[in-house]
Symmetry: C2
Subunit: 494 residues, 2 copies
């Protein structure tokens, strides 16, 4: 059963309702499959119009949607208003991309007379919509990574119908947003199959959706456990399909000595910025910094003191759901039991408080690198400070992390052998490398890459944020000696 709940109190709101049945899921997928040819045949302008209409509808219902999101998520009105802005911006951004023609870009290689290998027929490389996409909403961004978030926007932009599974942590907001989307699709005179919606918290719902034969690709943002389970289902279908999963990330932030050489004021400012990033949204960001590498020595000690003090003074708000809070408490409890970690915060708050307390502990680079358990994400306001004695220490820490959405390098402004080495190691393990600021906050733009080696992404060559997200749903096809009528249509068959 699905139950809308006040995130801050755990109080149920209204009646519970049943999750989608197997028959309902099959019907939703069938409807999407029936719409695939017609929707794939729409032009860029028509799809851009749909995306703009969805953005407009979200904004028109802003007041009700944001209030509901706030009750179900506890994320607060300012953040949620900003997130709705971002979601609308993103929908319109994909519309811009379509209108520029980027989705239908193609390569046309003229025939070359003569024998192979130099001689060749005419080849035109086009991209075709992959087909119905199953989209699994995330809990932590009730707008931007949920029903009308980036995955849905990019799949629709590509001409693929979507079957969205709402997240059970904000079920009422999800079905309201889905109803809005379905109304807009109808107003645009598009088949209802273009946007289908299912709901459920059980593993069966997800498995049924991924196993539906007509589903051509899956987009997922969520937990490592749920993501790896569904990735396995996608890989073991009679016909395996691409599973675009973002499964978690610990986002190392490296404070290089140069970042601490600018005086106490700058140092304290960095410490406060970092503490704020860790507590932003109660740490419920996939890009929340979870490992802070700080040099050994007096400057590093002073930074760690300032950082711990800043964090001590912050109070994260209530977490998204009782389940997420319980996972956070268990993760912190596991760290508390580790003899390798030295706690850095004085934590007197009771364990059953409505809001979590941040957690910070220190560990040596060698112990961190050698201990696999410490590389696992604790989702929430918790981080480890790793003390590094050298560039090699720092590289070892990054390599131990292995796969992450982001690495942040503070103090890499000067070119040197050591800095180059660290930048190279950072690019080997991360999808985004920052040289200033904090990783929380992911701009929606063409150059963005929100992915990274496993487990940050199950498909590290793809991104789930930014306009390259479209590429996940447009499969290349080479047309050989295409007839004139097809060339005139730039290779798009219908």
């Amino acid at each position: 059963m699905l139950q809308s709940t006040e995130a801050r109190t755990g109080t149920a709101i209204g009646e519970a309702w049943p999750e989608s049945t197997a028959a309902e899921i099959a019907a939703a997928v069938q409807s999407a499959a029936d719409a695939a040819a017609a929707f794939g045949a729409t032009g860029a302008v028509q799809r851009a119009t749909l995306l703009r209409a969805l953005a407009g509808a979200l904004e028109a219902e802003r007041e009700a949607l944001v209030a509901l999101a706030d009750r179900e998520s506890g994320l607060g009105l300012p953040r949620l208003n900003g997130e709705l802005d971002r979601t609308a911006f993103q929908l319109r951004g994909f519309a811009d991309v379509l209108e520029r023609g980027d989705a239908h870009v193609f390569i046309d290689d003229a025939a070359v007379a003569g024998a192979p290998p130099a001689g060749r027929p005419r080849l035109t490389r086009v991209r075709v919509p992959v087909g119905p996409v199953a989209m699994f909403s995330a809990s932590n961004f009730p707008f931007a990574f949920s029903v009308l978030g980036g995955d849905t926007a990019s799949a629709l932009a590509a001409g693929c119908p979507v079957v969205v599974k709402g997240h059970p942590a904000h079920p009422e907001l999800s079905r309201r947003t889905a109803a809005l989307a379905q109304r807009v699709v109808a107003e645009q005179a598009l088949p209802a199959g273009v946007f289908q919606f299912v709901q459920g918290g059980s593993i069966e719902v997800g498995v049924a959706l991924v196993n539906a034969p007509a589903i051509a690709a899956v987009a997922f943002t969520g937990s490592f456990k749920g993501g790896t389970a569904l990735a396995k289902v996608a890989a073991e279908r009679p016909r395996p399909i691409p599973f675009y999963g973002e499964l978690g990330s610990i986002n190392p932030l490296v404070v290089l000595p140069a970042a601490l050489a600018k005086g106490a004021e700058k140092r304290n400012e960095l410490a406060a910025t970092l503490a704020g990033s860790i507590c932003m949204g109660a740490g419920q960001f996939c890009t929340s910094p979870g490992v802070i590498v700080v040099p050994k020595g007096a400057d590093g000690d002073a930074f760690v003191d300032a950082f711990a003090q800043a964090l001590q003074g912050l109070q994260p708000h209530a977490m998204l759901s009782a389940g997420i809070r319980s996972a956070f408490d268990k993760g912190v409890a596991r760290w508390r039991e580790s003899a390798l970690l030295k706690p850095l915060l004085n934590d007197a708050a009771p364990a059953d408080a409505a809001t979590p307390r941040p957690y910070l502990a220190e560990v040596s680079a060698a112990d961190f690198a050698a201990t696999h358990d410490l590389h696992e994400e604790v989702f929430g306001s918790a981080a480890l400070v790793v003390r590094s004695g050298s560039v090699d220490d720092t590289a070892t820490v990054l390599e131990a992390v292995g796969g992450t959405l982001t690495v942040t390098l503070w103090g890499a402004e000067e070119d040197s052998i050591e800095t180059r080495h660290l930048v190279r190691v950072a690019t080997q393990v991360a999808g985004r490398v920052l040289f200033a600021g904090v990783p929380t906050g992911v701009a929606v733009t063409a150059a963005q890459h929100h992915g990274g080696p496993y487990p940050a992404s199950t498909q590290p060559f793809t991104t789930s944020v930014g306009y390259a997200a479209l590429d996940r749903f447009l499969r290349p096809v080479a047309l050989q000696d295409a007839p004139t009528w097809l060339s005139d249509r730039q290779g798009v068959p219908c």
Copy 2:
């Protein structure tokens, strides 16, 4: 043990030698890992020079290599000389791509002042070499899909060291080509780890290579069984890695009524072309046409008669190895036992002949679509004729095939609702759609796409032939607020 063998007679040539040990495989991977940073840091010009030197060395040793390839594969001197040409052309083609700067293309989004979502930091999207690539050679192209084939060329072009596993069907040619490559790498003053070589026919060798922690991606061309087994190994590593596998394809060729409306001469010419394609290289092409869809009716009957007659007159040469021949015989025997199939050739040759006989049988569209066994590739000169009564029949046949490297549509020159529908269905199931000629023969060019929905490819968005093959080994990374020194280097850290 590895044993060089005369393909035509099965006679052993020289002494057998042992396959690579676990320690040798580990050492090869370690050597590649040690070379990854330095090789990744080479410029496009240096890598282009390496590729050109490899092409030149192949050509310089042409006579000895082609003669050896002919003994081990039985493919004949003209074909093997052409294949060596193509392999050298391909190496030089990637060199051209590098010199044009395509490998280091990047997107630079300037910072935008103001609050998000419109405000943003500067983001630069670059591409970094993924790291050491394990490359599994194929049996059927001893040059173009083997030691110095397209996978190796594209990985080296991307700045990734390769660990090549030679194919045991041409072991002597493989180690000779590998020695040539290692000599060229040394002459270019590059670390030996840039090109490493292992050999073995056992599953253990392949598993050890895919499981080596420093391997960052796998390129594979080969059997469905071997490919799915190794794909599973890649997916179940502690850190799963991309597995670019091309596992087999039955390449439907659709003869539309319009193709048969041009008189008997044209019809017989098409029939002869098709029979030639099926017997080319004894049918040992991943793009060999395995399903021929022919309209019901008098024109279709006449085409099938001409086609069967043309095929009856052809004699494929000896197959690549006793194992491949045995698999072909078993596949044909399975078809012979099927009550659904009506044989079209008079086959009097003994089953133990040194060379195989082509096989052709007819089946109804409904029986084909409903019978999963008939969708499995029989590697060699064997095909099924499927008789179609309508566009819907044909679409059903293509959808039953589901995933294939190619679909060929003969007679789609005129635009119509039906043709559009078939083109759309073809693009949904194939990586390449041809409108003339036969699918055997894959041009090396920018627009080429040699992939397709599973099992044609385990990564249908990527290609193993053509210049986009490079994209498999260059992972995007977004640099946020990159310092001046790094921007000056266009985002390449070292």
